[in-house]
């Protein structure tokens, strides 16, 4: 259980994290989403006490990170897989971490074999690929058998097989009742992994919801209906083969039929509609729309590139799409 309250971090003029409050529950994978530069890594550094907050606090199972008796036995964190001394072997890297928390040596061999690095245990880690480094970093997080795990962009630079491996591992860790907090700048990565999602942009909280709710609101098949006759409409949709779920804000989310059909069903059942709208095209699009105002560095669009000179003082640059993000 991670509890963040009013967390704020200012670096000079820049407010990297702005009055952020959320909690991360055990037994679930919680995705921490936001565009690059949104403050995800800073938030994680603040949780771990690597940086000091300007205001606010973080508690892990009721304690500040620094006050944990055996930090590695309570939290396993991977901020940057390349944050290791490349001249040290994988085994010695893990050993020097384990020793600080009085974790026995045999555990080092065990986590190395768990992540599939036993054969390169005596190799210096500077020769490791990014995927191998990620595995080494993950091995480090598991040394202390912690109840809270934090991963910052763990699938960056991984091949599809590595991505699947990490995804399964995170699911398995959450299934064992652990708190799993994982950041990403891609919604698609979280779609099949996360139970809850926390979205931030420019250091501020944008959304804090479950993935089901997010998908229900944002996937293609979803049609939003607002009507004073919710119960009648719900039955009519069910009778026509669709599923209707109450959204909590008085509207009904219909799945399993296109917008036109929902309209027809309402007409046939004599239900008055106050709203009939199709939800967004894809999760990624929904996510981008959600965070569009908060993206730090926009790529200039082709349309405005030749004519409009970049206004001075903005961070807009005329980059080919895809180079910046």
């Amino acid at each position: 259980m991670i509890e963040v309250r009013g967390l704020t971090k200012r670096y000079g003029e820049k407010l990297a994290v702005n009055d952020l409050s959320f909690s991360v529950e055990p037994g679930k994978v919680t995705g921490f989403l936001g565009p690059n530069g949104a403050g995800k890594t800073t938030t994680m550094r603040l949780i771990l006490g690597l940086d000091y907050p300007t205001a606010g606090s973080v508690q892990i199972d009721g304690k500040q990170y620094r006050e944990l008796d055996y930090p590695m036995r309570e939290v396993g964190a991977l901020i940057d897989a390349k944050a290791v001394h490349g001249g040290r072997t994988a085994y010695n890297h893990l050993l020097c971490l384990a020793q600080t928390n009085n974790i026995p040596r045999r555990r080092v061999d065990e986590v190395l074999s768990l992540v599939g690095l036993s054969e390169v245990a005596k190799k210096r880690s500077k020769a490791f690929s990014l995927g191998m480094s990620q595995r080494l970093g993950i091995a480090g997080t598991l040394l202390g058998d912690p109840s809270v795990l934090m991963f910052d962009e763990p699938v960056n630079g991984l091949d599809p097989e590595g991505i699947r491996w990490i995804r399964n591992l995170m699911r398995a860790l959450a299934a064992e009742g652990r708190t799993v907090f994982v950041s990403s700048h891609l919604m698609s990565e979280m779609e099949n992994t996360a139970d809850d999602i926390i979205v931030i942009g420019r250091g501020k909280l944008i959304a804090n919801t479950t993935i089901e709710k997010f998908i229900a609101e944002n996937s293609t098949e979803t049609v939003r209906v607002r009507t004073p006759q919710i119960d009648v409409m719900a039955r009519a949709v069910a009778a026509a083969g669709g599923t209707a779920t109450a959204n909590g804000d008085g509207s009904l989310l219909v799945q399993g039929m296109p917008t036109e059909r929902v309209g027809d069903v309402a007409f046939e059942a004599g239900v008055r509609l106050h709203e009939l709208s199709q939800a967004r095209a894809s999760l990624e699009e929904a996510f981008m729309e959600l965070t569009a105002d908060s993206v730090e560095y926009h790529a200039g669009t082709a349309a405005d590139a030749p004519t409009a000179p970049t206004p001075a003082g903005t961070e807009t640059e005329q980059a080919p799409a895809g180079r910046t993000s």
Binding site: L50, D69, P71, H85, L95, C96, L114, V115, G137, W165
Partner: protein
């Protein structure tokens, strides 16, 4: 790479925790760190070769040319100092190791991982400094004694050698090892302040090597007053026994060097605890 199935997440259970993560574990960890990178062995080997090798070269040349030495040279000749002159260059080697012990944590990014494992920064800093001190002191003393005995053996061909029992000699030889260790700690402290390898080494060498040269260009009356307060001159006084008019005696001079080093280590400690990692 072979896929790891999730069934593998079942690891053997850890012994029940008691107490809290503290200094003992962190000392073990820091010792693992310093012994598990090649740069440690390289710098210590270079330190030994430079100090002992130069000492051997200087003493053999002295012995070979002894019959051409003037009376004045013979009168001021100090065989202990002669065999330890390599330490003058050795200080720059140990400075590299002292700086790297701290700055490599930052250049590699390892500091973020290390402080996640041991977030109590006071303990972390203390353990790092303690392990470095022990390693530097052991290697420093071995180097100093080997340089001394080899040098005396080479001087004995012309019967101008000395022994540990002679006045001030034991102080100079033990002091040689102390000097090397404190030079390393001096750079360790600078490393903790600037957190950058090249900057730390440049500053340490600038203060220990370049500063005395600059001071030498000042008017003599100033030089004499300033020299005794310079870290380098104060440090050298423990073994480089010339007992010049402008210096205090050996131990107080060495105390000045230790005081500078302690000030740097404490300043580094305060900033290390206060700053974002």
């Amino acid at each position: 790479m072979a896929a790891v199935t999730t069934e593998g997440t079942r690891l053997s259970s850890l012994p029940a925790p008691s107490g809290r993560a503290g200094l003992m574990g962190t000392l073990r960890s820091e010792f693992t760190k310093i012994r598990s990178v090649r740069s440690t062995y390289w710098t210590l080997l270079v330190l030994f070769v430079v100090c002992v090798g130069l000492g051997a070269l200087i003493t053999s040349l002295t012995a070979a040319h002894w019959n051409q030495a003037s009376l004045a040279q013979r009168a001021t000749f100090n065989p202990a100092r002669n065999s330890l002159l390599g330490l003058y260059f050795g200080q720059f080697v140990i400075v590299v190791l002292g700086a790297l012990t701290v700055t490599a944590e930052y250049s590699t990014g390892m500091i973020r991982t290390a402080l996640t494992a041991m977030p109590r920064r006071g303990i972390f800093y203390l353990a790092k400094a303690a392990v470095f001190t022990v390693v530097a002191l052991v290697i420093g003393e071995i180097t100093s004694f080997v340089a001394f005995f080899l040098g005396q053996a080479l001087l004995s061909s012309t019967h101008i050698e000395t022994t540990l029992g002679a006045p001030d000699v034991l102080r100079a030889v033990v002091g040689g090892g102390l000097f090397l260790a404190v030079c390393g700690l001096f750079a360790f402290g600078i490393g903790a302040l600037v957190r950058h390898t090249a900057a730390a080494i440049s500053i340490a060498i600038g203060v220990l090597f370049v500063l005395p040269i600059i001071v030498n260009f000042l008017p003599t009356s100033w030089t004499n007053d300033i020299m005794r307060w310079l870290p380098s001159e104060a440090g050298l006084a423990i073994w480089n026994t010339r007992q010049q008019a402008h210096e205090f005696s050996s131990w107080p001079e060495f105390g000045i060097f230790c005081a500078y080093t302690a000030a740097l280590l404490i300043a580094g400690f305060i900033l290390f605890r206060k700053r974002d990692a």
